[in-house]
Amino acid sequence: EAGVTQFPSHSVIEKGQTVTLRCDPISGHDNLYWYRRVMGKEIKFLLHFVKESKQDESGMPNNRFLAERTGGTYSTLKVQPAELEDSGVYFCASSQKGITQYFGPGTRLTVL
């Protein structure tokens, strides 16, 4: 069984540009989560999808971040326009019943 995959693994962009991160959850997992770790800080929750619906987006930092999960399969997280403080590692996780979450390898975003 394939695990959670994320693309790209690394992204380097300039301030003001747009970046889109993708997450493919484990097949059959209705719950999908996004987290972020800014350097030196703890891993923080961004949002939670149940199928295609946003269950909880209380962790989204501001309206420059847009997450979608059309069709309830893969999810994208778009940052537009990117700022320096958006740099960090973005993790995606999925869960079948919403208890045990399995994480992907993460996308390291660097904003210059």
Partner: protein, 116 residues
């Protein structure tokens, strides 16, 4: 609101020595507790979890953690570490929130370095 405290940011030990990584949590609701591990240049992997039942849980690679409700702790232990255990370890807690989301709240992580 839930929170997790990992008091030690770095723990250096020698190979074959015992180790304990400390984790304390606070929560007003019943919780699930997790330890995740991130090996160098890899993603987060689930190491072990406490959902219910026996308060002592074990991983396949020799780690164990004990849920202590009275002390609100979930410390991670291994009696004899290997070089390959060098990694960053994260304690996390989840519980039902008002929004119905089972989001994880993480500690800041503990970097375990095993030296020869």
């Amino acid at each position: 609101a839930q929170s997790v405290t990992q008091l030690d940011s770095q723990v250096p030990v020698f190979e074959e020595a015992p180790v304990e990584l400390r984790c304390n949590y606070s929560s007003s609701v019943s919780v699930y507790l997790f330890w995740y591990v991130q090996y160098p240049n890899q993603g987060l992997q689930l190491l072990l979890k406490y959902l219910s039942g026996s308060t002592l849980v074990e991983s396949i690679n020799g780690f164990e953690a004990e849920f202590n409700k009275s002390q609100t702790s979930f410390h991670l232990r291994k009696p004899s570490v290997h070089i390959s255990d060098t990694a960053e370890y994260f304690c996390a807690v989840s519980g039902w929130s008002q929004g119905g989301s089972e989001k994880l709240v993480f500690g800041k992580g503990t970097k375990l370095t095993v030296n020869p």
